[in-house]
């Protein structure tokens, strides 16, 4: 069984993907990034769950969908410590950590209101850079930096 203590509050799944160790504040961003609003499979969310490591955390369990590594990496900018388990027949068959990609295409809004991407239907594109301990995004177009706390997901 994939169940361990702390996960009992959210029901186990038979087949699918479990994304754990999400900062509670990033849950809805991840729902957007992964396009879960359009998902037809059963999904369970839990948030403000107790976590020894993080204080509070969120968890997402998606039935019958097996997320690819590339897809998972997209959530790294808002959940750098997330762990992703692929479940088959109630067993963890793969365990991934997220890797922060070099570039982010399309789904993050540039924080600069004067950026072309906020005025014309242009796909956003960012280079991921280090800003102190955190990561930040440098816009390919306006060259301004979107800091982690400013990250918003485009509609």
């Amino acid at each position: 069984m994939a169940q361990t203590e702390g996960r009992l509050e959210v029901r186990a799944i038979e087949n699918g993907t479990v994304i754990d160790h999400i900062p509670a504040s990033s849950l809805f961003k991840i729902i957007r990034i992964l396009g879960l609003e359009q998902e037809t499979h059963c999904i369970t969310f839990g948030t403000n769950l107790e976590s020894k490591r993080m204080g509070t955390k969120a968890i997402i369990k998606i039935n019958d969908r097996f997320c690819e590594q590339e897809e998972i990496n997209r959530i790294a900018i808002v959940a750098p410590e997330a762990s992703v388990n692929i479940i088959r027949n109630f067993k963890v068959v793969e365990k991934h950590t997220v890797t922060i990609p070099e570039t982010i295409q399309g789904f993050v809004r540039c924080a600069n209101p004067r950026c072309i991407t906020n005025h014309e239907p242009v796909e956003t594109s960012f280079r991921v850079i280090k800003a102190g301990d955190e990561i930040a995004l440098r816009c390919k177009y306006c060259e301004k930096i979107t800091h982690q706390e400013q990250i918003e997901i485009r509609k």
Partner: protein, 303 residues
């Protein structure tokens, strides 16, 4: 070679910057070479800027090219609601190159991606204005004989001033030493200091202009704008501190020259104008030769 654009000064390598310097000197020696004969260049000023536009258009005219375009968007399809995308797609069919200014940041980068012809950024909001940077470099090269090992003192608004940021990046190829003179509210942002640290380039920061300029090769003045201050009292306090006066130039190095991207609004006293160290008006003339060099280089019409 594919289409080459100039959107940001970081699009050019060190060798390319030096090539532009060389070409600018050639055009200054003979500004009537007809290398742009038969070329049509679109000058698209979505945001008005008389000085930059005339400098570009004069450069093109001198070299025998033709200019089409607009200096404001009032009588264009933009005012009918056409998207920027469509305007660029259409106009890039009519010309060999687009020179453009826009108030929206990143507009030039986007245009360079969708346009069939090269795009030269003549300013996109507070972002980039690379021809200004290259003309600054040309002015430094001309007055100092070299770009290497220059001590440059930057004065004024170092926080928002895009010209100082781009110049700092471009000069980083040439082992400069920087002194930053700015009020606390307008200090050089950390990201640029970090950039210098990574490259091992020396810099110091001070609030006092007179000490700083004593062993300067170049003093780069910028405008301190009232609207940058959250506290109007603070503006009133600092605005006169960062004014360069002729009396302050005594004892400075003989090779020292004063640059300013212009327009100035009082940060250089008019009594400096007649001092041979004042170089800001010649700097604008250098701008025309530099723009000749940029356009000719990108179009591949010079050997």
């Amino acid at each position: 070679m594919g289409k080459k654009n100039l959107v940001s000064v970081t699009d050019f390598s060190c060798d390319e910057i030096l090539r532009i310097m060389e070409l600018a000197a050639q055009f200054e020696a003979d500004p009537h070479q007809q290398v742009l004969a038969g070329k049509v260049i679109a000058s698209l000023f979505f945001e008005p800027s008389t000085r930059t536009r005339l400098s570009f258009e004069s450069a093109i005219n001198h070299l025998g090219g033709r200019v089409i375009g607009f200096s404001e968007t009032a009588n264009t399809s933009v005012s009918k609601g056409e998207t920027f995308h469509d305007t660029i797609m259409v106009i890039s069919n009519y010309c060999d190159m687009i020179v453009m200014r826009h108030s929206i940041e990143g507009a030039a980068r986007y245009a360079s991606e969708i346009s069939k012809v090269p795009v030269v950024n003549a300013g996109d909001g507070a972002n980039q204005h690379p021809s200004q940077t290259l003309l600054d470099l040309y002015s430094i090269k001309k007055t100092q004989g070299t770009l290497d090992n220059i001590h440059i003192v930057m004065v004024g608004d170092l926080k928002y001033g895009r010209t100082v940021h781009s110049l700092l990046q471009a000069l980083s190829f040439f082992n400069p030493t920087f002194t930053f003179v700015a009020p606390d509210e307008l200090k050089m942002p950390d990201e640029y200091k970090l950039f210098l640290d990574e490259k091992g380039i020396r810099y110091t920061e001070t609030r006092y202009i007179e000490d700083a300029i004593r062993d300067a090769d170049i003093v780069y003045m910028t405008r301190v704008q009232r609207e940058r201050f959250s506290d109007p009292m603070e503006y009133e306090r600092v605005k006169n501190v960062y004014v360069l006066k002729n009396s302050m130039l005594e004892g400075t190095k003989p090779n020292m020259r004063i640059l300013h991207p212009l327009p100035r609004v009082g940060e250089i006293d008019t009594d400096v104008d007649s001092n041979p160290k004042a170089y800001y008006f010649q700097q604008t003339e250098n701008g025309m030769y530099t723009r000749m060099a940029i356009i000719s280089y990108l179009l591949g019409v010079v050997k």
